[in-house]
Subunit: 211 residues, 2 copies
DNA sequence: GCCTGTGAATCCATTCACAGCT
DNA sequence: AGCTGTGAATGGATTCACAGGC
């Protein structure tokens, strides 16, 4: 596969998807898996699996399949999840707290090293071992000092844009926004808007049509 | 636009997106908006906005634009969010608790009427006014009795499939799964898998390529 | 003149089908 | 024989560009 090809976003998201069952299969042996088997576990098409992987190299053996352990390693390398990432949370809402303590994040090497809130009554609290809630005014200083790479926004929708601006100004690399307000940033920074009321509304739409 | 046309999922998700700024614009007057303006607020293409809306009718006036209030009403009707929906949470993790108390859900008419957990030490607690945590064994009974339409799974990945099976068996209409394990259900039930570690991994991928 | 509604054109992603390797 | 890697074919979704109505 030619280098420099633009990789489709759905492909990246599926790579993450593939890694879940692979992790579970690590203990099994023989640790080989076919594209058909993996596809079934993830609910996708086998050709899709092969094409996704082929963007990055030839990881399989024709007539045999993929080695589970090696494939997982390769995927982690591609996704850059073979190392620790430093995050901060902005907005100590219940959701912010839940993410801070989230086992699935920890397990994958996403570590929260700072927490911010704008409401003075929340400052100084310790929602997690070693973390003290800091005011927005310290975002710039701490993002730089601690080398924070990803900012997670869990404020109310009204504060989301301000939070994003502060993070960008602090030189953050990427933003994940959980508030139901689209945030816009200048430059080529990476932003994921994960508004899950949108997903709920998709469910409501489908349910509303049936009865 | 012909009736019976299959509506693309992205269109539904964007309709939800459009409704956010429209709600904020409700108080303004004159309460008119052009596809271009709305598109800009949501970060999409103006033609996209018009095409999305055209699937469902002619809501605008040529040469003028869309009436904010009426457009919002129409969108809510399409998405079936002009009424209350009854939900339950399965898995009283931090995330489960955060969703239960989530203002954005409440504001949009999504009401949690039951909460379940499998761990006996959590049973009987009252995470929210009027709600008592119930064992999995009561899912079937309560989903039927309370008329619960949407089940939200916030268990560990290891319990997610069992939770889904129990919900389906109880006759639930739709499932939203927050655990990082794909759940599969038989039949035509609607399932949304909202694994946000997948989104994080997308950010990591992009960040990993830059420096 | 202005902005919607929409066929046509383009772009992107998925699936098929088979050549190629073990 | 079996399963990967991939060009070709298909299927969707987005964008363009303009006709149509205020």
């Amino acid at each position: 596969m030619a280098k420099g090809t633009k990789i489709p976003t759905p492909t990246i998201e599926r790579l993450a998807l593939y890694s879940r069952p692979l992790e579970a299969l690590l203990k099994d042996s023989p640790s080989l898996i076919s594209s058909e088997k993996l596809a079934e576990l993830c609910g996708v098409n086998p050709a899709q699996v092969r094409k996704d992987l082929a963007y990055f190299g030839e990881f399989g053996v024709r007539g045999v399949g993929y080695d589970v352990k090696e494939l997982l390693q390769q995927i982690k390398k591609i996704l850059a999840t073979d190392r620790e990432w430093k995050l901060c949370i902005v907005g100590m809402t219940n959701l912010g707290y839940a993410l801070l303590e989230n086992e699935n994040f920890k397990r994958r090497g996403y570590t929260f090293v700072a927490a911010f809130d704008s409401r003075s009554q929340n400052l100084g609290k310790k929602p997690s071992s070693g973390l003290t809630v800091q005011p927005f005014s310290r975002i710039k200083e701490l993002v730089g000092m601690l080398g924070i790479e990803i900012g997670v926004i869990t404020t109310s929708p009204f504060e989301a844009q301000r939070a994003a601006d502060l993070l960008v100004d602090a030189g953050i690399g990427a933003i994940m926004n959980f508030s139901p307000a689209q945030v816009r940033v200048k430059g080529s920074r990476v932003v994921e808007n994960v508004d899950f009321t949108v997903k709920l509304e998709n469910l409501a739409y489908h349910l509303g049509k049936i009865p």
